[in-house]
Symmetry: C2
Subunit: 216 residues, 2 copies
Amino acid sequence: MVEKLYVTYNDVHRLCQESAPRMLESFKPQLMIAIGGGGYVPARILRSFLKQQGQPNIPIQAIGLSLYEELPIAHEANATTGAVDQIGTKVTRTQWLDFTSLGGMENLVGKRILIVDEVDDTRTTLEYAVKELEKDVAAVSEKLGKGGEKTEFSIFVLHNKDKPKKGTLPADMEQNKYLAAQTVGDVWICYPWEATDIEEHDRLSAEQKQKKTSSS
Amino acid sequence: MVEKLYVTYNDVHRLCQESAPRMLESFKPQLMIAIGGGGYVPARILRSFLKQQGQPNIPIQAIGLSLYEELPIAHEANATTGAVDQIGTKVTRTQWLDFTSLGGMENLVGKRILIVDEVDDTRTTLEYAVKELEKDVAAVSEKLGKGGEKTEFSIFVLHNKDKPKKGTLPADMEQNKYLAAQTVGDVWICYPWEATDIEEHDRLSAEQKQKKTSSS
């Protein structure tokens, strides 16, 4: 049975609060791109803690990505041949950047952009987001004759699962522009916004924290 | 001094959870439009509770609106004349709908769309959102030759402040397609995602609830 990790809203709040000063020091984001639905909650909380006195809020743009992990079709055949299944994955856009507001894409060129999601599981969604955003920015940059301006992307996730990843990120990003508030094993993360009984969810989370403290 | 109302994350969660069945019965939303940043958290929570067995998640599109309540410029002059200030308001788009994904605007035409925000204060932002969305949908509907298909908008907010509104909504919407999970006085609502000390925030909220119970 896969181990479950119960994360409360206040855990999410604190993970964002603790991470914000580190990002203000390193990435210094000027714009956030929230990957919906999971990135919505951390992005909104982060906005509070990334706000600097006398400065306006850091704008958030939301994008929507759905990940379909396609199951291998010929299960039996593979059982026979013993071949390792290459599980296909497909990312679908349900919302992309809006090119009409805020000066559109021009505002992304030359900026430090923080991509926000709740979890880095297989890394497929993040790879897709980074690649597509870099491609779009490069195209607009070219069009605007701003080829020289460097647009920097960084990533924030609440949880990174320590497991082999299917997706890859640029080496420099992985090393210097990637922050996971918490690294966990290959567990089933139960986020509070999925809870049908939030009191029970909180109780299970408290119980887990209690056990962890007493066993360490 | 303006009275403050402390709202916890679990309060927000429960307000969404309680409201979802009512919306599934009445509005039957097929798409959500979250007004960011305040609408992000309720929209994500609502998605969990609006999901019906065997059906995919209801897609969320995020839009970003900033409300600038312009202060009257000639304060002294008004003090002299005694004229009542007409405080101007201006809504700025920081993100609008994406016309490229999911078939773009075509997917909005003929749908039941739920607009989600955290609070209905002066109603200015909501008026803007409804008017602009209706205008855009009408234009696309016309273009697609779908003039006959009716697109229905409904509204969900966590809190409605019971006060004179500057913005107005279509009469039918106000009466039949508007749901506020909670109606409050003209108080200062402290949402959890703004809290710099979430434990203290929760403590103050519990204290308020305690007081309310013992005085009623």
